[in-house]
Every structure is written in C-alpha cells, then in structure tokens.
Symmetry: C2
Subunit: 108 residues, 2 copies
C-alpha cells in the first residue's frame, strides 16, 4: 500500500539559488538511494522562503528504510551540503528537520 | 504526459476546522468533476496557517479543463463554501487564488 507524505520547511533566503542548483543535479547516488529505500514520485516545490515536498512510499518498513538512507555515506555527504541551506520551522517537533504536514484531502 | 502541480495558500485561522470538515466529506459531485477534468493523485496538506496541494493532470488541454470545472454549478457552490475559509498569499500573482510554486526537484 502506498503511503503519501507532505512536508514543509523554509530555505534560507541566501541559500535558495544554491539549493536549486544542487537539486537540478544531485550528487551521483542520491537519487538511486532514494529509490532503493522505496520512495517514489518525489517532488520539491519552492515559493518565497517556503519549500514543500510530496512523495510516496511503497516499501514495507518506512522507519527501517529511512534509517538505511541515513546510514548511506553518499546521502550523508548530500545532507551536509543541502541542510545548511535550509531553515527548519520554528514550531517543528523535536527531531524534525522537514516538518510533517497533515493530509486533509486526497483523491486518487 | 502527466503534468504535476504544487500550489500554496493560507487558511484563515478561524476557518481551518471548517475547511477540514468539508474536505473530509466534499459536496456530492465535486470529486467526480475533478476526475472528469483530468486531475488525479490530488492531495491537500495543512500545517499551521499554510495549505499545500499537489496534483497531477493527465488531460490534453489544462486551460479548457479548468474552464470546464469553473463553469460547473456544483463546483461553484463548493468554491462559495470553501474559498471564504482561505486567505490568498499577499504576494500572489494577479488572478491567482492558490499560488503556483516552482518545481525544483522531481524523481519518478
């Protein structure tokens, strides 16, 4: 069964251009690890300081797959590059970087 | 070919509960018209005052399909209910209600 996720975060105003540049051409291996961890139909949208991401998960153990991704050296290198360009929401939950949103409507 | 859209808007703080209630159970015919106009995989997410929507379009003439939707009496009744609960972004373009975002990353 597909699980859907919507998340938001801010980008630092001075980081947006670099964030876009990196995402137009991610480090080799980043996209492959995302797919290997069961994520698909993964989009990131930008407007002003806000970023919104939508993605779907088709695996069987989301927590385990996210742990696998977090343990991947290429993904760690990628996060070291892109995370400093972002500004987590002030009201984020403990341990959140991207903040989960609540799905209030879905139509297949 | 599928076109993807990401859009954002605010909800009025006093309107969120009603907005959620209506979207948990839309007026009969609203979902059917959305599908008839070629939109699919349509999600709306909420966090704080912000709403985000992601959807895909599989038709051949987006402008014509959106005009068809806007001309539908049930959809008009629906918009009369839900639009007053929302607060368009201050920096919206002329004619925008929901504001289009820029897709800066996509992985199928």
């Amino acid at each position: 069964m597909v699980k859907r996720f919507g998340q938001m975060i801010k980008v630092k105003p001075e980081g947006l251009a670099e964030y876009k540049k990196w995402h137009a051409n991610p480090l080799p291996g980043v996209n492959e690890m995302i797919k290997e961890c069961g994520l698909k139909n993964y989009s990131i949208y930008s407007r002003g300081d806000y970023l919104f991401t939508y993605f779907e998960y088709e695996g069987n153990d989301y927590e385990a797959d996210m742990a696998k991704m977090a343990a991947d050296p290429t993904t760690q290198k990628w996060w070291d590059i892109v995370k400093p360009l972002m500004q987590p929401l002030e009201d984020r939950e403990e341990g959140e970087f991207w903040s989960d949103m609540e799905e209030i409507y879905h139509l297949d």
